[in-house]
Point group: C2
Chain length 147, copies 2
DNA sequence: GCTCATAGTTAGGTAGCCTAATAGTTAGGC
DNA sequence: GCCTAACTATTAGGCTACCTAACTATGAGC
């Protein structure tokens, strides 16, 4: 890698860090929406397909198992999820959505998408293209870190 | 706006939300570095130029004033910042860096940039170009929300 | 010189994360 | 078959970073 490339890498690193830091505004704007916190909405979304084990929830959220248990307990108290015994492994717990949970995911998801769409609508078409082109890269970075 | 554009907007909104959610991995990787939390490093960086008022710190961080006070108190206890009376307005407080604070910003900043650069080095040149092109857009979004 | 606005702090509370310790279950070696 | 080691989840206790509400002190307008 050339010296020029090295410098560019440094600059990009710094700029990306700065952009990430400033994204708190965006994240908070989205979270301001609702009755469902970001962590809880993320958890509920995982449950859409099928029952999911607590450990898997933790891995998906990028947190430790006790933190996932905590989220599940809150969702259960809110009547949005339910814990069931895993038929294959009695150490494990399968977390599933309740009917209310399913409805809550759908409506929270739609409302947040609408907020985000409103923000993106203020951009130019070129801006949106540039953003769309970067999303796969960001996902690539993130999944490489997921460990 | 055409129906096709509407749909694209919805899709982009959803994808961007998803990418943001997954960025916890990246943010946590960067924060794992060190002795200085993300909030504290951000606060310290603001002080580099000049004394900054608590209200201004709050606005910059995107938090309420009491939260900024809290950060300042912690930095003060850590010996990294100092509160001084504002000569122009005795209601106000100017927060300034100590010598240790200045050194701490520099080293934490460098270490985090190095971590980020390491992550970005694993991408292709095209990926980095796409990312670099999107950063101004992200900043544009963020500054539109800042208020 | 009141009154109202502004700057910051204090008090008390919440969410979300962590580590360490614990209970129960499964799996492998012998 | 049994014992140990590994795994799954929960509980307990602690931390950071937010928040709102209530307060103190200073500044500004009329």
């Amino acid at each position: 890698m050339s010296t020029r490339e090295q410098t560019e890498l440094q600059t990009l690193a710094q700029d990306f860090r700065e952009a990430l830091r400033h994204s708190v505004y965006l994240v908070r704007r989205l979270d301001a929406d609702g009755d469902l916190s970001a962590a809880q909405l993320s958890t509920l979304k995982m449950l859409l397909d099928d029952g999911v084990r607590v450990g898997e929830i933790a891995r998906n959220l990028g947190v430790k198992v006790p933190s996932a248990t905590e989220q599940v307990i809150k969702l259960e108290r809110a009547g949005l999820a339910r814990r069931e015994a895993d038929p294959d492994d009695s150490r494990a717990v399968r977390v599933v959505l309740t009917t209310e949970g399913r409805a809550a995911v759908d409506s929270a998801n739609e409302r947040r998408n609408a907020v985000m769409a409103g923000i993106l609508a203020a951009l130019t078409e070129d801006d949106r293209k540039a953003l769309a082109a970067a999303l796969p890269v960001i996902d690539k970075i993130n999944s490489s870190l997921q460990n």
